[in-house]
Amino acid sequence: MPKELWKGNEAIAEAAVRAGLEAYFGYPITPQTEILEYLSRRMPELGRTFVQAESELGAINMVYGAACTGVRVMSSSSSPGMSLMMEGISYIAGTEVPAVLVNVMRGGPGLGNIAPAQGDYNQAVHGGGHGDYQPIVLAPASVQEAIDLTALSFDLAEKYRAICMVILDGCVGQMMEPAEMPEMKPVHRENWDWNTDAKMGKRERRVLSSIYIEPAEEEKMNLRVLNRWRTIEAKEVRYKEYFLDDAEIVVVGFGTAGRIALSAVREARTEGIKVGLLRPITVSPFPYEVIDQLTARADAFLVTEMNSGQMLEDVRLAVKGRVPVEFYGRLGGVVPFPDEILNEIHRMAKSKLSLDVHPRDAWLERMAHA
C-alpha cells in the first residue's frame, strides 16, 4: 500500500475496519470524535454495525453484548468518557471476552480540558474498574504506529480473551502524517468455543457472566486470568529502543512524551552525550525486565511523561533503587518542548545525582526554582 496522509483518529478508525471490525459503539467526546464520525460513514457503507450510544455507559455495554457473540468490536473515548466505561470494562474483564478500546487522553481530572495529556496511565495500566484484572495497553507515538497497534489490538484481545486498550493523546489523534494502511481483511467470524451466539441446533446452551457466587470459584477465575496475564507478560512485551547500546543516561517515555524525548536525545547525541531512549509500546505488560537489564549498564534514568509521574513508579520498581531515577513532567494538557528535556539531560550529564530523594520531589523542587 502507498503512503497516504492520515489524521490519527481517522487512521485508527480505518485500521480497525481493515482488521475486520464488525461493530462500533461510541459517544462523542473531544479529542476522539473523528473516530466516531469516520465510522458513522464507513461502517454502514460496508454493511457493518455502527451505533451512536446514549452515553459511554451505553456504548461500553453494547460492546460487552457484541463481544459476547464473538465478533470483533470496538469503542473509543477520551478521559472522562473512559471513566464512565470503567464499570463495563470490569464486567468485560470478568467475563473474559475480547474487546478493543481506544482512549485519546486529555487534560484532567474532571472535565479538565481537551489538550493532549497522559494522565490516564494509571487508570489504564493499573486497573480503573473494580476487581482483579489487567488489560493489555498499547501506546502509539505516531499515526503509523496508531494504525499498526490498532490492528494488533484485535489479535491480542482475541488471543487472550482480554481487553486491549490503545492509549494515545490529542497530539497523535489530531495530527496528520504520511502512513501506510494494511490490506483490508474480510470480516471473519471465528468458531469460538465460548461465545453466546445462540444454540442454533448445534450445541448445548452457553452462558457468559462475570458472576462467581462461590468465593472459591471466583478465586479460580482470578487465578485463571492471572496465569493468562503471566503468559502475556512473558510473550507480549513490546518497546522501541534508540541509541541504547552505549547509553549512560536512559530516557524513558511513552507515546507523545517519548517521541518528544527522542528529539532531545538526538540533539544530545550530536553534542557527544551518551544518552538513549526506551519507549515502551506495551505500557501493560510493562517492560520491567528490559529496564532491569538496562540498570546493570546505565548510570541514570530520566522518565518523561505528560502527567505527574505515573509510569515513573513502574520504572522505579524495575530499577529497584540501584541507580538514580530522575523525572520531568508537564501536566494538565501542557506539552513539553524537546529543549526542556534536553535541559534535563544536560543537567544529569553534568551533576552528581542522588539516590535518596524521590524523583517527583526533586522535580517539583527544581520547578519551584525555575
Binding site: Y64, G65, C68, T196, R205, R206
Partner: protein
C-alpha cells in the same frame, strides 16, 4: 383402560434447575410464561437472553437458551450489542424495576427510542427485592419499604414512574403493554402479551415491552395470597393494565 392426559409439565424452554425465588413470588410465573412462549414459537435454538442485576440475576440458570449477564441496569444496551450483530436471533432482557426504572432508565429509554428490535420483560413489584426491599422508583405513594420506613413521602422521595405509559410515547416502540400476574385470568392475558411482544421482534417491528405487575411477599411482609390481593387492590389501580402502544402493523398479527 383409563387414559391419562398430561396437562402440565416443565416447558422445554426451562432447564432442570430449581429456581431460587421466594415462595409466592411471581417471578416463577413470569419465567414460565416466557419459556412457554419461546417453546411455542419454536425459537429456543436462536434465542439469547440478557439477565439483569436484581432478584432475577440468576435467570440465566433457568432458561434453556444462551444467556449473558448484564451490569445493573445495562441489559438494554447489552441486548442492543447482541441484536445488532446477530439480527436474525431472538434477544430479550428480563429486568426488575430497580434495574430498569432506576439505574437503567437511560439505557431502557434510548433502546426504546432507537427502536431496537428486542423484547423486554419488565417485572414491577414496587421495590428492590434482592437487596432486601428498599424503595424503588415504582414504590407506591405511602408504601413502607426498608428505605422509606414511614411510607414513601412523595414530597421528599418523589413520585412513582409509570414505565409503560412513558415508553409508549416513543416512536421506536412497536408494542408496549402492562399486564398483571395476580390471578389465572390475568396470567393468561400476560402470556398472550408476551407472545405478541416476541412476535413483534420476530417480524422486525421495533421495540417491544411487557410490564408485569408482580408480587414480593417476603419484602412486603405479607402472605403470598395477600400479596396477590395487594397487587389487585393497590397496584392495578395505580398502574392501570392495558395496551399503551400497539403499532398498526402489530395489530394485524394473528397468532
Amino acid at each position: 383402560m383409563a387414559t391419562e392426559n398430561l396437562v402440565y409439565d416443565r416447558p422445554e424452554g426451562f432447564t432442570d434447575t430449581p429456581t431460587h425465588y421466594c415462595p409466592g413470588c411471581t417471578h416463577g410465573v413470569a419465567h414460565r410464561l416466557v419459556a412457554e412462549v419461546l417453546e411455542e414459537m419454536g425459537v429456543l435454538e436462536k434465542t439469547i437472553g440478557v439477565a439483569p442485576v436484581g432478584c432475577s440475576v440468576f435467570a440465566y440458570n433457568y432458561f434453556d437458551t444462551d444467556f449473558v449477564e448484564a451490569p445493573h441496569g445495562r441489559a438494554p444496551a447489552m441486548a442492543t450489542g447482541v441484536k445488532r450483530v446477530m439480527p436474525d436471533r431472538i434477544v430479550f432482557t428480563y429486568q426488575g424495576d430497580g434495574d430498569l426504572a432506576s439505574i437503567g432508565m437511560g439505557e431502557i429509554v434510548h433502546a426504546a427510542a432507537r427502536g431496537e428490535n428486542i423484547t423486554v420483560i419488565f417485572i414491577n413489584n414496587a421495590n428492590f427485592g434482592m437487596t432486601g426491599g428498599q424503595m424503588a422508583p415504582t414504590t407506591l405513594p405511602g408504601m413502607k419499604t426498608t428505605s422509606s420506613p414511614n411510607g414513601r413521602d412523595v414530597e421528599t422521595q418523589g413520585y412513582p414512574i409509570k414505565v409503560a405509559e412513558m415508553l409508549s410515547t416513543l416512536d421506536g416502540v412497536g408494542y408496549c403493554v402492562r399486564r398483571s400476574l395476580h390471578d389465572p385470568k390475568n396470567i393468561r392475558l400476560a402470556k398472550k402479551a408476551i407472545r405478541m411482544a416476541f412476535e413483534t421482534q420476530s417480524r422486525g417491528l421495533g421495540f417491544s415491552m411487557v410490564e408485569l405487575l408482580s408480587t414480593c411477599p417476603t419484602n412486603w411482609g405479607i402472605t403470598p395470597v395477600n400479596s396477590l390481593k395487594f397487587v389487585e387492590e393497590h397496584m392495578v389501580p395505580f398502574y392501570p393494565l392495558g395496551d399503551y402502544k400497539i403499532s398498526e402493523a402489530i395489530k394485524q398479527i394473528k397468532v
